[in-house]
Amino acid sequence: MTVRKNQATLDADEKRRFVNALLELKRSGRYDTFVTTHNAFIMSDTDSGDRVGHRSPSFLPWHRRFLIEFEQALQSVDATVNLPYWDWTADRTSRSSLWAPDFLGGTGRARDGQVTDGAFARTGNRWTINVRVDGRDFLRRDLGAGGRQLPTWAEVDSVLAMETYDTAPWNSSSDGFRNHLEGWRGVNLHNRVHVWVGGQMGTGVSPNDPVFWLHHAFIDKLWADWQARHPRSTYLPAAGTPNVVDLGDTMRPWNDVTPADMLDHTRHYTFDTAA
């Protein structure tokens, strides 16, 4: 059974296995297909048109399905590997063990933002950025640039308190839990973390940075936490909404999975703490 753990609690062997599985997916070419898929959705999801992966109610079930697929790919390399999550309300500086050389490596150097330590540094020749929007083929970061701050637990708590899952017009201007968690409105949780990391994480090809998965695993856990806090609230909209994935509609690119199928994460994995 897959148990997703807080990254801060992983032991050296768990970190090593996770990193090695990432490197093997990268070597085989499978990793980059996930980057390509994500970018295709981020470029085509619009507030006024079809929207599936982002800026819409299905942001959460879409990414849940995307992470399950990625986790299964990791497990096809090493069956002991599960996706860890990064609680950025707790591990909120560039000195966190998350950014140590034995795990994800640190921030980028001043000159060009290039990450120079850890397994994902370009100099190791095992992490070339192939799916890219500019000419640079090395992983970049600028952790906390300009004094930016990660969200606090109090800010997260204020979003978890929102009873309504999502509201019309079901996009980046919506009120409700989903859009506040995504960050287009209000205190800004998910979007702000992408910006705090910087480099490729701030772009449409954000899964080029392995921290993408740890960030989204925590966003996914917050959805589970929200469900536990509001057992009478559920996914919205229910039916008949143009351009938007209703509860029982299938989601691209899989076309065989609906938000309803994704509501109960325990069919796929559990967390190290009760949600």
């Binding site: 970018n39 295709a40 981020i42 085509s44 929007v133 500019d134 980046s172 954000s206």
Partner: protein, 126 residues
Amino acid sequence: MSSITRRRALGVAVGAAASGVALARSAAAAPGAAPAAAPAPASFDEVYQGRRIKGGASHGGGHHGGHHGGGYSVTIDGEELHVMRNADGTWISVINHYEPVATPRALARAAVRELQGAPLVQLTLA
């Protein structure tokens, strides 16, 4: 887009002298889009940190599928920067995708700073 909406958009385009601007406005006024009151942003053309940035209403030709600038296009040294307008009238690009800014010019400048001299490359959608 319904035929009624299409006719209305065409009417707006014909009625305005600056048809490019009107097209941008009509695209933004598609069903479920930003409030129609959001004005189409001005075009611009400048050299910023040594790079030529241009923005203005696009005219349909030469666009890749999946581009959703709402009728507005931005280039950096002649290469198209994928941009998108949010429902509240703010803008993001493929380079700064999680941090909305007020105008396409601010977006182009943010991209130039982020690129640190690197060229844009066009990515083919899957």
